[in-house]
């Protein structure tokens, strides 16, 4: 096992990786930008090194500087977390060339899966079902004739795409021209590559993904699926495992499909194969493969009882996976809420200082947080503050535990989306498992005070009245303590 590793990330994922390292006796080097000086991940690490100014491009994305820090501090390996450089094949290669170990898949696998079209080709070769689609299309005219063949609505996608950039839904032939131009310029700006292709749009879909794990010794395992249909702006808000729509037979089939793909691209480490689940046809189709640890990995950890970061370290250190496929057990249901520093309704980010941050405790509840009380939340990075996860023997219990944990979580000083999560967990479609990828756009939830009934509002107001009275009483007593009724120092 490694003696020391560098964690090339920040926030909750850096803290998450640190905690496993500590358990395994691996020393840690954290990196931080000027803006993250004194941030939780830097406080918790054995060593912390400032790698540059606040903008990520000058700090967390400065690969050369990160490798230099790893070498100078004597770290033997680099864990990229997710985001930033985690799926940058060039960085993965540079890390290895510098004589360090990359805690992630081979650079070739990252590159193959990073290009959506080459990933589709690989998936097809591995026998994984695909959404009907096209190759690279050069002109709006070509898009138009291909769309005619596929049948509307279609989805125009950038080959180098990700995070919804360069992606456009096209519902009628009239919209092709404009959609093509816009997707093309967005793809150029975001990825420096204008390659576009078409996929048939699946109207009623769920997002279901399969966790895979491979070692360098020929073992490829699937650990179970996660459903992440609740999304806003193509970013996930709520994840759960297992998915309510998969039958056991489908789950096994999806697992073996994901494993075939991992085998086909010579995978190593933790990976996730994302699928679109067509609710009407009860089929699933390959979307893409994420060649890194996912944000929502705790959901899988709570259901399987495994530590995926520990497995990542072991595999990177050359060990074989400790379990066989038939030894992987899944118990109960886990649901996770991503707590973002953002308005619960318009999703705009918020900043400030955490004047209170008192997490709830309870059976089956886990919190992965990148912040503590007193910490600042700035505008520079992803607004994810923490992930709150609850496990139960069934979905209803997991949801009840999560609702309770959200309600007892005191956060003040920075607006978060807790109220949205709280309303969502009560929503009948979600509770029935009927939620689709368009849930956020199609459901107008009443959140916070707007969702509070008259009786609860009375109780809340009564509590505020009592606290107000208590404060007044204390002020009056302080006044009485002075002989002539004037506050001290003003006579």
């Amino acid at each position: 096992m490694f003696e020391k590793i560098l964690i090339a990330n920040r926030g909750e994922i850096a803290v998450r990786i640190l905690s496993t390292c500590r358990k395994m006796g691996v020393r840690t080097v954290a990196v931080h930008s000027h803006a993250d000086r004194g941030a939780l991940h830097a406080r918790l690490a054995d060593e912390a090194v400032d790698v540059g100014p606040a903008p990520a491009s000058e700090s967390y994305l400065n690969g050369e500087r990160l490798i230099e820090v790893a070498l100078v501090t004597g770290a033997q390996a680099v864990h990229p977390g997710y985001g930033f450089l985690a799926e940058n094949a060039t960085f993965a290669r540079s890390v290895c060339e510098a004589g360090l170990v990359w805690i992630g898949p081979p650079a070739e696998a990252i590159a193959q899966m990073g290009d959506k079209l080459s990933a589709r080709t690989l998936a097809e070769a591995a026998g994984v079902p695909l959404v009907p689609g096209s190759r690279v299309l050069e002109s709006a005219k070509e898009v138009s004739s291909t769309a005619q063949q596929l049948g509307y609505p279609v989805l125009l996608k950038a080959s180098a795409g990700g995070g919804g950039k360069g992606m456009r839904a096209v519902r009628t032939p009239d919209d092709i021209e404009a959609a093509f131009e816009r997707a093309r310029s967005e793809a150029q700006r975001s990825f420096g590559c204008t390659d576009l292709y078409l996929e048939k749009l699946v109207p009623q879909a769920k997002h279901v993904e399969m966790q895979v794990f491979s070692d360098g010794h020929g073992a490829h395992l699937w650990l179970g699926e996660r459903e992440c249909s609740i999304q806003r702006r193509h970013q996930k808000l709520v994840e759960e495992s297992p998915s309510v729509v998969l039958s056991e037979a489908q789950r096994r089939q999806m697992g073996s499909d994901a494993v075939s793909l991992a085998q086909r691209c010579g995978y190593r480490g933790a990976g996730t194969v994302e699928f679109l689940y067509d609710v009407q046809a009860k089929n699933y189709y390959f979307l893409e493969m994420n060649t890194r640890l996912q944000v929502e990995h705790p959901v899988t950890e709570m259901v399987t009882g495994l530590d995926l970061v520990a497995w990542q370290l072991r595999v990177a250190a050359g060990e074989a996976l400790p379990l066989r496929q038939d030894q992987i057990q899944r118990r109960g249901v886990a649901v996770e809420c991503r707590i973002y520093a953002e308005d619960p309704l318009d999703f705009l980010p918020s900043t400030g200082h955490l004047r209170a941050f008192v997490p709830p405790e309870g059976p089956g509840v886990r919190l992965d947080s990148g912040v503590e009380q007193g910490d600042g939340v700035g505008p520079y990075y992803d607004p994810l503050l923490a992930k709150l996860v609850a496990h139960g023997h069934d979905r209803a219990q997991a949801i009840e535990r999560l609702k309770d944990a959200l309600d007892r979580f005191a956060i003040a000083g920075v607006t978060t989306n807790v109220a949205y999560h709280r309303a969502l967990l009560d929503e009948p479609d979600f509770q029935a498992g009927k939620h689709l990828t368009d849930f956020v756009e199609t459901h107008n939830l009443a959140v916070g005070l707007d969702a509070l009934g008259e009786n609860e509002a009375q109780t809340l107001a009564g509590a505020l009245y009592a606290l107000h009275e208590q404060r007044e009483r204390r002020l009056r007593q302080a006044l009485k303590a002075t002989p002539d009724g004037w506050p001290q120092g003003e006579r």
């Binding site: 209170a356 309770d404 956060i411 000083g413 109780t459 107001a461």
Partner: protein, 163 residues
């Protein structure tokens, strides 16, 4: 005596027959109270001048606790918030980086015209003019980091009288 609690946009007339709920202190400023059988955390922060802020389920609400008569008086004398200058101040609706300032002082702008572009979380957001008029002041430059609610520029409506 009857009391009124104003909570954000909601006004609650306290029922004098109702027993005050049981509160348990969890940390400095943090209390737990049972709402409809469910234990909830609430954080109450003093904001000076005797006012308080409630943080509940991740959101912030201004709180005012007053006697019913005081509340009624305040309602009676309160002036409409929409005074003439209120609509003309263009504020940042999110924290972020100003990437583009599209107007300058003295320029005429139409209602809905883009005036400033703010980038946050890799998204560009155009702030538009709430009224047609003349740009009276521009407070930011491209490259500035702005806070939510910060004044970006001021627009004097076309048909307003000269001050």
């Amino acid at each position: 005596m009857r009391w009124v609690v104003t909570l954000g946009a909601r006004t609650v007339h306290l029922d004098p027959a109702q027993q005050p709920p049981t509160l348990e202190q969890k940390a400095v400023g943090v209390w737990s109270v049972v709402l409809d059988g469910q234990t909830c955390a609430l954080t109450l922060l003093p904001e000076g001048e005797g006012s308080m802020t409630l943080w509940w389920r991740g959101q912030r609400y201004g709180v005012r606790v007053e006697r019913e008569a005081v509340f009624a008086l305040r309602q009676h004398f309160s002036v409409k918030q929409e005074d003439a200058s209120a609509g003309h101040t263009v504020k940042a609706h999110m924290p972020g980086l100003v990437t583009q300032v599209k107007v300058e002082r003295g320029q005429h702008v139409g209602r809905g015209a883009g005036v400033i572009v703010i980038e946050a979380m890799k998204m560009e957001n155009e702030v538009s003019a709430p009224v047609a008029g003349v740009v009276e002041a521009v407070d930011v430059l491209a490259g500035d980091q702005v806070e939510k609610g910060q004044r970006l520029c001021v627009i004097r409506p076309e048909n307003a009288k000269d001050g």
